[in-house]
């Protein structure tokens, strides 16, 4: 029997896992509650989480650039972008709270770009009716994470960097009681005893080969929550961002901000045709320019002109590029041409999109002020995630909360660009407050079971102790190829079934995974530990994708090419069954609040009139 008496234990009221925008927000808001001890655990160094890569901005109906904006319009845009599958309440809370959170961030030190009047400037983005994204050039995520970091370190939060969470502990009644973690630097284990846990662990974009995500995105929150008995929702909705780099091969997938299109960038195929005019969905035809002339007027600020089709939602643009490439009209290296050089002056480009300029200059030896970029779809974001209560962010496990990309529901079948950073702030804040309140109500620390702790630690060390076994990197590469080809941007029954079979096969290879070397800062071991969560996430994606026999938002089934009304009634849930197998079931959605439904279903003209009256009051 493993002796665990020597392993360090620390006690918290609220422990946050993940230190991107959501995790830092959650930790900060929990720390404001009286007498609450807050801990924060992150896999990387503080300030390096993937939020840093967010470029375009955070959506909030501040109305600084176009005063017709309002939470109601933001809410309607979000629902339509999500193909009405969003959790109604979450979309409402998000749209209502985003402006306050953005202003709060400014008070904590974020320095946004300004309007002529000196207010926070806002830019256009796909699916947003008005210029709505508060931004800092094309490095908004960096601004956000640095602001939260520099504010957060003065709030009495106990921060544990380069520390990997392994699994959740629960007491005999099923409540959260703690979590076992491992310091990457030393390989030492630590037991955090806590009354509540917040997962702000991001998504699982590392399941695909072409991805904008870093190594951290291995679905740790999904895997751990699933093992702890929580439900995963909407896992079939994986956003492929339309514009990732496609050349050279080593940078394939790295994000090219939607801000390029927001600033006027246009998409062309190999024949030089501006092809997005051919892909305008009926639902958006009324609100989209149908000639280049109108699109050009819009770019100049003509409020009567409609938006260019390049700014349709991400699912639409990604599929359009995919179709063009498949039809043989792709760019030299199999993408589309994204041209800003012909639309904006070199100075404008360098000022508005400095990191894009730098990124292409260094990594692709290409000057975007002179030549078009080559871009193609890249796996970017999980709309789905751990199922949470809209108002408390609590999962189906008592004491376990989730926010940010780790949580599902808010974005429905497709997320609008810019709605992620605001989501991190809004629901990070809510989960922090709610977890603190939950913890206050508990009189004593729930008690963990030593046998559970031993099992978790032995599971981790067996990977190192095995005589020989499978290379974790190669299993991961196989999984990425499998997801790319079988559960990618366009899906069919046959391919998804092949994908699931392959995942089963990889699961058995994983049982004999072996990491060479010691426990001290050993990336092979870390890779192996992450594999379990990647495999759970991928299985949930594939099984949900198989069940949803329609195409909606980011989930495209070639064998069921259109939206089917009956499927709007259902979410797909994944949970661990009694025998340890994954259960994938469709669950009826609850009825929306009639007022919210009315707003989402309103025509834009009617809603704009209504908002005008609201603002006059």
């Amino acid at each position: 029997m493993l002796d665990i008496s020597g392993i360090k234990r620390l006690q918290f009221d609220v422990l946050v896992i993940g230190a991107g925008g959501a995790g830092l927000s959650a930790a900060i808001s929990a720390s404001q509650e009286e007498g609450i001890r807050v801990g924060l655990v992150c896999k990387s160094l503080l300030g390096k989480a993937h939020t840093v890569m967010a470029e375009g901005g955070m959506a909030a109906a501040l109305g600084n650039v176009d005063n017709r904006d309002d939470w109601k319009i933001h809410f309607r845009d979000t629902m339509r972008g999500g193909k009405m599958l969003n959790n109604w309440k979450m979309a409402e809370i998000h749209a209502k709270n985003a402006p306050e959170r953005v202003r709060e961030l400014e008070h904590w030190g974020a320095v946004f770009d300004r309007t002529k009047e000196g207010l926070i400037n806002q830019r256009n983005f796909g699916g947003h009716r008005y210029p709505r994204l508060a931004h800092v050039g094309d490095r908004t995520g960096l601004e956000m994470i640095r602001t939260l970091q520099d504010h957060g370190i003065h709030q009495g939060i106990d921060i544990h960097m380069e520390c990997t969470a392994l699994d959740v502990l629960k007491d005999s009644s099923g409540k959260v009681s703690g979590i076992v973690c491992m310091y990457r630097e030393t390989g030492e284990f630590i037991i955090f005893e806590t009354k509540s846990l917040i997962f702000a662990t991001g998504g699982a974009g590392k399941s695909w080969e072409v991805t904008s995500n870093s190594w951290e995105y291995t679905g740790d929150g999904y895997g751990m929550a699933y093992e702890a008995g929580a439900e995963l929702i909407d896992m079939e909705f994986n956003q492929f961002h339309p514009t990732g780099m496609v050349w050279p091969p080593s940078v394939k997938g790295i994000l090219v901000t939607e801000g390029v299109r927001g600033e006027g960038g246009i998409l062309k195929n190999s024949e030089g045709k501006r092809f997005m005019f051919d892909y305008i969905p009926e639902k958006f035809a009324n609100e989209t320019a149908d000639t280049e002339e109108e699109a050009a007027r819009w770019l100049k600020g003509d409020k009567s002109a409609r938006r260019p089709p390049e700014l349709l939602t991400r699912d639409v643009v990604a599929r359009a590029i995919n179709t063009e490439v498949k039809a043989g009209r792709g760019s030299l290296h199999g993408g589309a041409y994204l041209d800003i050089a012909s639309q904006r002056s070199a100075d404008d480009i360098k000022r508005k999109l400095p990191s894009m300029y730098h990124q292409f200059k260094v990594l692709a030896e290409l000057d975007i002020t002179k030549e078009p970029m080559e871009v193609g779809p890249t796996c970017h974001y999980f709309m789905g995630g751990i199922k949470v209560d809209a108002e408390t962010s609590m999962t189906t496990v008592e004491g376990l909360f989730a926010c940010g990309e780790a949580a599902g529901g808010m974005h429905g079948a497709n997320r609008l660009g810019g709605n992620s950073l605001s989501d991190l702030l809004v629901f990070g804040n809510i989960s922090g407050v709610q977890a603190a309140r939950y913890s206050k109500k508990l009189k004593s620390m729930p008690k963990s079971n030593d046998d559970d702790i031993i099992k978790i630690i032995q599971g981790a060390t067996s990977i190192l102790n095995r005589e020989k076994g499978n290379n974790p990197y190669l299993i991961h590469e196989d999984l990425q190829k499998n997801m790319q080809y079988n559960v990618g941007i366009i899906r069919t029954r046959k391919e998804i079934e092949d994908g699931i079979e392959k995942i089963d096969n990889l699961k058995s290879q994983f049982k004999d995974v072996k990491a060479a070397g010691t426990s001290q800062f050993n990336p092979g071991w870390h890779e192996a530990l992450a594999l379990r969560n990647l495999l759970i996430s991928s299985e949930a994606v594939a099984k949900s994708a198989l069940l949803r026999e329609e195409s909606r938002g980011a989930h495209t089934r070639e064998d069921f090419p259109s939206e089917r009304k009956e499927w709007l009634e259902y979410n797909i849930i994944n949970r661990k069954g009694k025998k340890g197998e994954m259960e994938t079931v469709k669950v009826k959605r609850s009825q929306p609040d009639p007022e919210l439904k009315r707003i989402a279903d309103s025509s834009i003209e009617d809603l704009e009139k209504e908002v005008k009256l609201d603002h006059q009051k």
Partner: protein
């Protein structure tokens, strides 16, 4: 595809050696890609830090052929093909393992900085600040905390300086706070006594290695030094120091 030679530091702070590896390099590859390939095929336990792979997070700072660089932004085709690529950890910080160093000292410096303290005079719509008044602050805030400047600063590189100087990164952060139009805190005395602005003797090594091209010395450190001088030294001294400082620059 071409096979290239690599020599990578393997070991810890006390002992270690350069280990040779060979790796196939294809068009467009950066040094970090090669490290990953070696890690996956030949050395699973080779420790390295990275995140964004696009020069935005500042995790993969190492020394490549003796120069502090971001491994993700250093293309293989800029390095001499006939020589092995030598990858070593940052020299100014203790090695944890292989090319990963302990940068916690930097986090301690940041903790000592008095945080942003805005005025209460803001409007309902948030701060009113003109773009031209925040341009410089935004320039400082481009910093990705890669610590290449900290690594290069000879005050920090000569270990004993670590007690006396917060380093260029945190001078930049202090400047971003001091020049924020809405900040009302007074940090001048700490800039002199705690953060050690006087330790910098303007050799500009930090500015040269900054991947974000922040004008650390000219835009951040010198103005902070001037503010300290204005506060703590009489006008005659101030004039003398200004002249002395300028003279030194030209002779350099």
């Amino acid at each position: 595809m071409a096979e290239r030679d690599f020599k990578i530091y393997r070991g810890d702070d006390e002992r270690g050696e350069l280990v040779s590896y060979k790796c196939e390099v294809s068009e467009g590859m950066v040094v970090l890609d090669a490290i990953h390939r070696i890690q996956a095929d030949q050395a699973n336990d080779l420790a390295c830090r990275w995140n964004c792979k696009a020069g935005k997070c500042g995790s993969c700072s190492v020394e490549i052929n003796g120069k502090p660089r971001l491994a993700c932004m250093t293309r293989m085709n800029e390095l001499d093909e006939d020589k092995a690529v030598v990858i070593t950890p940052l020299k100014s910080f203790p090695v944890i393992k292989d090319i990963v160093t302990d940068v916690s000292w930097n986090y301690e410096q940041n903790q000592k900085i008095k945080p942003f303290s805005p005025s209460k005079k803001d409007t309902e719509k948030g701060f009113v600040m003109m773009q031209k008044d925040v341009d410089r602050v935004q320039h400082f805030r481009k910093c990705i905390e890669c610590y290449l400047c900290q690594n290069m600063c000879h005050v920090i590189r000569d270990n004993e300086g670590k007690d006396k100087f917060a380093g260029p990164r945190f001078m930049t952060r202090l400047a971003s706070l001091e020049m924020h139009p809405m900040d009302r805190a007074d940090r001048i005395e700490e800039i002199k006594d705690v953060h050690g602005s006087g330790m910098c003797n303007i050799t500009r090594c930090c500015t040269e290695v900054c991947p974000e091209e922040i004008q650390i010395t000219d835009d951040a450190i010198i103005p902070l030094k001037e503010r300290v001088v204005d506060r703590f030294y009489d006008p005659v001294m101030m004039l003398f120091r200004k002249l002395f400082g300028k003279k030194k620059e030209t002779t350099n």
